[in-house]
């Protein structure tokens, strides 16, 4: 039964990308690297998060690729980070850590191809990665 359900997924892998891998890259290179990995059917767990302008750029570039790359239908994306509830000193500490590390390394960015990841369902209590069956 399980085999039958999973039969439609052609194959994918889950890849963890440490922030150090993208720290030295510029925005263009970061987005290119991420989308390249996604196109290879990887569900990517990226340590840290992109800047907000890079996140929009990623969405824009994703849209530009739909229709140009055969079978590509976009991505599912979610960023898990502390949502500003840590108070003044908590914020100061995380900003300091981010400044030293060169990015918000406390966050995790999940990104996967929409042909494999149906939905990344979130609510304040849990995060579910739903795959296409």
């Amino acid at each position: 039964m399980v085999k039958k359900r999973l039969g439609k997924i052609k194959g994918f892998s889950i890849q963890f990308l440490p922030y150090a891998e993208i720290r030295g890259l510029n925005s263009d290179e970061r987005i290119k690297k991420i989308l390249h990995l996604v196109l290879e059917n990887n569900i990517l767990f990226l340590q840290g998060r992109l800047e907000s302008s890079e996140e929009t750029r990623l969405i824009g570039d994703t849209m530009a690729m739909i229709g140009h790359v055969r079978g590509f239908k976009g991505v599912e994306l979610a960023v898990i980070s502390e949502n500003g509830k840590e108070g003044f000193f908590g914020k100061f500490r995380s900003n300091l850590v981010s400044a030293i590390a060169g990015g918000d390394i406390g966050a995790v960015t999940i990104i996967g191809p929409a042909t494999i990841v149906k939905e990344i369902k979130r609510n304040p209590k849990k995060i579910e990665l739903l795959l296409k069956g």
């Binding site: 800047e51 907000s52 302008s53 996140e55 929009t56 750029r57 969405i59 824009g60 994703t62 849209m63 530009a64 739909i66 229709g67 239908k73 976009g74 991505v75 599912e76 994306l77 979610a78 960023v79 500003g84 509830k85 929409a114 990344i120 369902k121 979130r122 609510n123 304040p124």
Partner: protein, 213 residues
């Protein structure tokens, strides 16, 4: 010195007289099918008598950025001039097969998907040009969507004032509280663009926000 002070005084008065006539760019952003065009239509209909765009149950009905210039919104005797900008819904994935569920022909569905992807790119480009932005969310949907967070993050980085609207409060499944919990740092106004519910509160917030722009 006295002459300089005198000229500055008149300059200030003159500038303030024309400042009120400046047309603020009011953008409507959000995910597809949240009711951006319905809200923009409602405002335009109320103040100009004309609508802005067509609405549909099929997602991505708005696939190009729509404008309506010189929309003068009046609220409690005060007037403000806006250029309304209705944008295509932003998404991270678009699959033409989703449109087939609405009995659309494959060719039309593929064309719609292509136009929708271009629309998202156009929406993103316009983010830079806004003075004030209304994020329209469907109050029946889960607000913890990365697209919403990304758009808001971008607007904050650009220091553009944001108002979050929880649309479709006429539906039983809707929850303003969920949206308020997801965005505790922002003012959330619950409305029904379809039935014109709670628009007074919306206009009040728009006037407050416009002053920050």
């Amino acid at each position: 010195m006295a002459i300089k002070g005198f000229t500055n005084f008149f300059k200030r008065i003159f500038l303030n007289m024309f400042k009120g006539k400046k047309e603020l760019k009011l953008g409507f952003y959000g995910p597809p099918n949240a009711g951006k065009t319905s809200l923009a239509n409602r405002i335009c209909k109320d103040f100009t008598g004309e609508e802005m765009g067509t609405v549909s149950k099929i997602p991505h009905e708005t696939r190009t950025v729509q404008f309506k210039e010189k929309v003068e919104i009046e609220y409690k005797g005060k007037k403000m001039l806006f250029k309304m900008i209705d944008t295509p819904g932003i998404a991270t994935k678009i699959d033409y097969e989703d449109f087939l569920k609405y009995r659309m022909k494959k060719k039309d569905a593929m064309e719609r998907a292509k136009e929708a992807t271009q629309g998202v790119v156009e929406s993103i480009k316009w983010l830079d040009d806004m003075d004030v932005v209304v994020i329209v969310l469907d109050a029946t949907e889960n607000p913890y969507n990365q697209v919403n967070l990304t758009i808001i993050g971008n607007l904050v980085a650009r220091k553009i004032p944001v108002l979050i609207v929880a649309n479709k409060i006429d539906l039983r499944k809707s929850s303003i509280k969920k949206i308020e919990a997801a965005f505790p740092e922002y003012e959330v106004i619950g409305i029904s663009a379809k039935y014109g519910k709670n628009l007074e509160e919306f206009y009040e917030s728009i006037f407050k926000l416009a002053k920050q722009a």
